[in-house]
């Protein structure tokens, strides 16, 4: 693994189902983030983690949960998916958690909720 990976690449999901998007980084970065990207709305922060064991809410956290049990992994869970959660999801990481720290992004997961 080099950098940051996400799985699955894409997924079609029935409304009401539970789904976990996976994100793994091998750069030993302290901070990790989940964004969603929708046409016309740009990138919006869902949840973040400044360090293993801590998480925080971003701009659009409702309907999503995260955990950070270790440095490398930061899964995003949709407990009961709804069609408005159809989006492209990007995971990112940075060495530090200052706003100026460079963020490295994964390739994204395209999620469709029907």
């Amino acid at each position: 693994i080099a950098g940051i990976t996400q799985a699955p690449t894409s997924q079609i999901l029935a409304a009401g189902r539970r789904m976990t998007l996976r994100c793994t980084q091998d750069m030993r970065h302290n901070a990790m983030y989940w964004y969603r990207q929708d046409l016309g709305l740009g990138l919006r922060l869902i949840h973040y983690s400044n360090t293993a064991g801590t998480t925080g809410k971003g701009e659009v956290p409702d309907g999503y949960s995260v955990s950070r049990a270790n440095t490398d992994d930061f899964p995003l869970t949709l407990a009961s998916a709804v069609p408005s959660q159809t989006s492209v999801y990007f995971c990112a990481s940075s060495v530090g958690s200052r706003a100026v720290d460079e963020q490295f992004f994964g390739p994204g997961t395209r999620l469709t909720v029907l």
Partner: protein
């Protein structure tokens, strides 16, 4: 939190220099300006960051006037592969507040042959 304003889209031709200006009128003393680039179907990637005057790297130059209320990303001699969305962000260097970092909708640059 400093809000940024940038053009929604720009068109250019191969070989031209492209300048994308971002306004951040209420930028604070400890804020830095960062630009990211996002190619279609990929995540954004960091391209340049600065505080004042001029910063240059192998990809772009960043010009920041003395009052820091705006910044200009300059891409020399663009090629088709520079077609992307460019995001201007303003963030505080001091505190752990990445949750306040706002990407917005960016500027969609289209380069034509």
């Amino acid at each position: 939190l400093a809000k940024t304003t940038q053009p929604i889209s720009m068109d250019s031709y191969e070989g031209q220099e492209v300048n994308i200006t971002c306004s951040h009128n209420n930028i604070a003393t400890n804020d830095y300006i960062t630009w990211y680039q996002q190619f279609p179907s990929q995540g954004p990637r960091f391209i340049i960051q600065g505080y004042k005057t001029k910063v240059t790297n192998e990809v772009a130059s960043l010009f920041i006037p003395a009052d820091r209320k705006s910044s200009t990303l300059s891409l020399p001699r663009v090629s088709l592969s520079d077609t992307a969305v460019y995001y201007c962000l303003v963030g505080d260097i001091r505190t752990y507040n990445t949750d306040k970092l706002i990407f917005g909708t960016g500027t969609r640059l289209q380069v034509f042959p």
